[in-house]
Assembly symmetry: C2
Homo-oligomer: 340 residues x 2
């Protein structure tokens, strides 16, 4: 692959290379890249905004993360936050700080992933900042979305008696991370070894190329279900349900035997001698949606195979509990600081 | 000063400490910190959004930058972009990535500056992300503003015959940076030496605690002047006027003898054997506003002592020129990559 030094292009040349593929898809985007600020027209809708900062060797490891996947994921994690408000993402800004270790081609790969995610989710890239770093790659993404005021779903509105639902499967990204970390160690010790990722595409994909649950957002709208509270699972189910409970001043009872865990996750966790429930509860980075609904909406959920009821909201004095497969009650705790 | 390790608080504890001083000032702020995304209601106004990523030892040096000033400046540079659209900033998000070299007290100092800027400019802190870094401090700020569509001012709408105006003084931040870099070298060689910054408060302040030109935005509105194009000066006058000329497809003639340079900047530049015109043209980080107006609006500018007409928009084929004090014509060029 060709290598063009960043210094050959200069900042504005680089911005031009990186944003020439940005196509405007939303009529609410009045101005994109190229002025002091982008301009968005949200008319009578409410504007929703979320931002994330991703740091090399904290949030991602370039030894096993292709740059294109990283670009894609950087967008996805922010879109996931917008869907978690029951809103539709419409625009993103992407800023990168990079050292001269990166070539223009490398960072163009990253932006290929950014553009792919924009394409896939109908979102416009409208701005950002490109700058140098002393060492490593830092990525900041801000996502903007829109919703009618009455459709917005917060974290502090769960009520006793509501059912707790989750989309997709849990723990996959965490087990995928364990697998890649293990392969990395093998690689560092024996660089001639090829990584053994055969048949691991699901868990590796869950980590490296997650999707945001646009389909769940669409399904809820189509079925006329407005969740009573919602959050996306970036730090693990346990941490997220604690947010909902604390902010809504309620308790919860989660059924361990209802936790959705994919078969590949189970098999690999078994290989690694990991407890699958721990992976599902504390794993993080699954970017599934966790939400509560009124019991009368439960039957409508049956139309989407990918949604599961895993528990119930209970009075705050009854605590934040896991009902184990063995029939015991265990109190749930968060895992504290997000990245290790 | 007390030192609390970041790990003692955890991410959410830290967010609580950092955002407890955030007061909501705009009625358009429906939800701030504490959900997946913030919610903004801009009704019939247009939403303007700008973002910046600041990296330690690229954009700032903590040897001579107090953290509170850094927090203040991180906000200001983004507000400046919003004013440069002729819009009013209303909300910001602030994300920081920091290594365990920083204590909670240190980062709380940073946020004191953030809150001060919010207070000063009537802007609401509505969200962000706090994460760890392997090394160094990275800061990402996104500013959101609002404007009536007909008031927005872009970069690509300057016309032949328009007058080129600039607010405040130029080159101060650049000379301030030279001064601090010099003091840093002295300090590194002789740590017992105290920095000699007496009587240098203007240029040092220009660099460490710049202001965004809210007063110019207010003045233009009050006088009923709508600039024909506008940009803020972050990379130097030369680079910014080139943006306006390229995007508007026009040329420009700048009068060297009209460049506004403060006396302290002149004296210090003389000390350092720097050409003051070069400092003013290429210095950067002044965060003044550069704009063009119709000639008939020129007399209204007289009511604000801080605004100066420095040139004229000319046909594109006449080039991008500096009319020197000596009477020569020199072609203007940008300085390329923003940070060195």
């Amino acid at each position: 692959m060709a290598r063009t030094e960043l210094s050959e292009l200069g900042e504005f040349g680089l911005i031009e290379v990186l944003t020439k593929d940005a196509k405007i898809k939303n009529k609410s985007t009045l101005r994109g890249v190229g002025d002091d600020a982008a301009v968005i027209d949200h008319g009578d809708k409410k504007t929703v905004i979320s931002t994330d900062l991703l740091i090399e060797n904290v949030h991602f490891d370039l030894i096993y993360t292709p740059l294109k996947h990283l670009g894609y994921k950087s967008v996805i994690v922010n879109l996931s936050d917008i869907y978690a408000m029951n809103a539709k993402p419409t625009q993103i800004t992407v800023s990168v700080a990079l050292s001269n270790r990166f070539s223009v081609e490398a960072i163009a790969e990253f932006y290929k992933g950014v553009h792919l995610a924009c394409e896939q989710y109908g979102v416009d890239l409208i701005g950002g900042d490109t700058t140098s770093s002393v060492k490593g790659l830092a990525i900041s993404v801000t996502a903007i979305g829109e919703a009618n005021e009455e459709d917005l779903v917060y974290r502090d509105t769960a009520q006793v008696g509501d059912l707790v639902c989750v989309s997709g499967f849990l723990g996959g990204a965490y087990v995928g991370l364990q697998l890649l970390e293990r392969e990395k160690q093998v690689y560092l010790e024996q660089p001639e070894m090829q990584p053994d990722l055969e048949d691991k595409s699901y868990i590796v994909g869950k980590l490296l190329k997650p999707e945001a649950r646009q389909d769940v957002y669409d399904f809820l709208a189509k079925q006329g279900i407005k969740p009573t509270s919602m959050i996306d699972i970036s730090d693990g189910l346990s941490s997220e349900i604690l947010h909902i409970c604390r902010q809504s001043d309620v308790g919860v009872l989660i059924e361990e035997n209802q936790l959705p865990i994919a078969q590949e996750t189970q098999l690999k966790a078994f290989d690694f001698k990991l407890d699958t429930t721990v992976c599902a509860m504390h794993g993080g980075e699954d970017y599934e949606l966790l939400f509560t609904i009124k019991p009368e909406d439960a039957e409508k959920l049956l139309f989407m195979i990918d949604l599961k009821i895993i528990g119930e909201i209970i009075p705050p004095e009854d605590g934040i509990m896991l009902h184990t497969i063995g029939g015991n009650m265990k109190e749930l705790i968060a895992q504290g600081w997000r990245h290790h």
